[in-house]
């Protein structure tokens, strides 16, 4: 399942149910991307392996979305990175910063709270 990098575009009136579902699905997943990236970066990784790991776990993200997102999270102080050699090539490794750990903890609490609330609402 791939995410579309562009901003959510509301379905125009008269859009097909498939297209409406696709837009809403992408919007729903977009909100979870940051959580998934932060959680995965509790272990240090570089861009490409992070993407493949997320994909293996069912959270596929376009390259064009993930790499700029990593930089944005780093500029916000949630990630830290360093260039290091691996297999004779220089790669930029990212990991969660102290501030990122705190935010991740808060986001996970929020995520669980949303899940519980939604469960209750859906079950009626």
């Amino acid at each position: 399942m791939r995410d579309t990098p562009s901003a959510p575009v509301p379905s125009p009136p008269g859009a097909s149910p498939e297209s409406q579902f696709e837009n809403l699905r992408l919007e729903l997943r977009r909100g979870c991307l940051i959580l998934a990236v932060l959680a995965q970066l509790r272990t240090e990784q570089y861009g490409y392996t992070l993407r493949t790991t997320l994909a293996e776990r069912g959270m596929e993200i376009d390259e064009g979305t993930l790499y700029p997102l990593l930089r944005r999270l780093e500029s916000q102080g949630l990630l830290q990175s360093e260039w290091r050699e691996e297999a004779k090539r220089s790669k930029r490794f990212y990991k969660l910063s102290a501030a990122g750990k705190l935010i991740l903890k808060q986001l996970l609490t929020e995520w669980k709270s949303i899940g519980t609330s939604l469960d209750g609402i859906v079950k009626g």
């Binding site: 990098p5 901003a7 575009v9 570089y46 861009g47 490409y48 392996t49 993407r51 493949t52 376009d62 390259e63 064009g64 979305t65 790499y67 700029p68 930089r71 944005r72 500029s75 090539r89 220089s90 790669k91 930029r92």
Partner: protein, 355 residues
Amino acid sequence: MTNMTTTTATTLLDNYLKAVGHNLPASQRDDILKELAENIRSQIEDREAHLGRPLTDAEMIDVLKQHGHPLIVAGRYRHDDRSLTLGRRIIGPTLFPFYAKVLSFNLGVTTIITAVVLLTLSVCGLPVTLRSAISALFWQLVIQLAIATLIFAATDRHFAAHPDKWDPWRPYADFSRFFSVPASGNAPESPVRVSRFQSLARFVAAALFLVWLKAITHSARWIFGGAVGAFQVEPIWHRVYLPFELLIFVLTVQAGIEFARPDWVRFSSAVRALAGVTGLAILGVVLNTGHIIAVRDAAATAANLRAAHIFNTWFFLTMLASTVICLLGLLSNLRRLTRDFRKPATPSHPAVPAA
């Protein structure tokens, strides 16, 4: 199915990275490109290991297309989400920074010119009301705003409708269909260097200037407001107007061609160098005369003569500064042209069918 040589893969990747790099903030460009290149190389190696053979041309192109159009990718790294929305999106974040740049430049220059003229009239004691000042400025700004918005909105629409229609052999030439220019049979190995957005910005700026020039020639009231009856242009204006208008027209067309065919680097440099020579010749004639505005006989009051003197002094200084800028531009284009012609011819690759 053709397996890709290392050189070919490197060329495709280099062209892609250069296309992305052209639109990245200069302060982060090298770092972003280094990381992007590394991630793409890892992806290629991963695929090759999985397949047990080198990637084919089509598979390599697929990898790059999966990353996205260079302009969109660069836009995401800019983290600039500004866009123009009137009910629905008119100009998206990818094009908006260029739209804002063109508008700020054109509207800024127009406002400064009009403000200087009206201030001079006011200082010389000529009747300048707030209403006439606003009226003089308003339509100039509205027309420029409308034209720039229309051009950028059309480009944005095309871009949004065909995000995948770009050729990784020539990552700048994705708008060739838009301008009905068929893709050439061969793609250059050397990277193209003219930024498509710079060409678009130059095209819009030159087109707007052309419209503005026509408008003020048709109605000098837009510049002089209520004092228009007191002044007239010197004969020198009529001598240089047509060559000057033609020069701006040629520059507009050149920017349009450059936008459609950014790989025509020599053509662009040659036209700009020629335009520089023509521009210098026109400026030489104007500077030799030094006057552009005269007071009509029937309105030859001390205040009007003083206003005309200030206009002409200001005009002379502006033309002098323009001459220096034009000369520097000409030297830069001639240097680029000489350097390009000294380069040996490069081999080419077969073009990739459109997506």
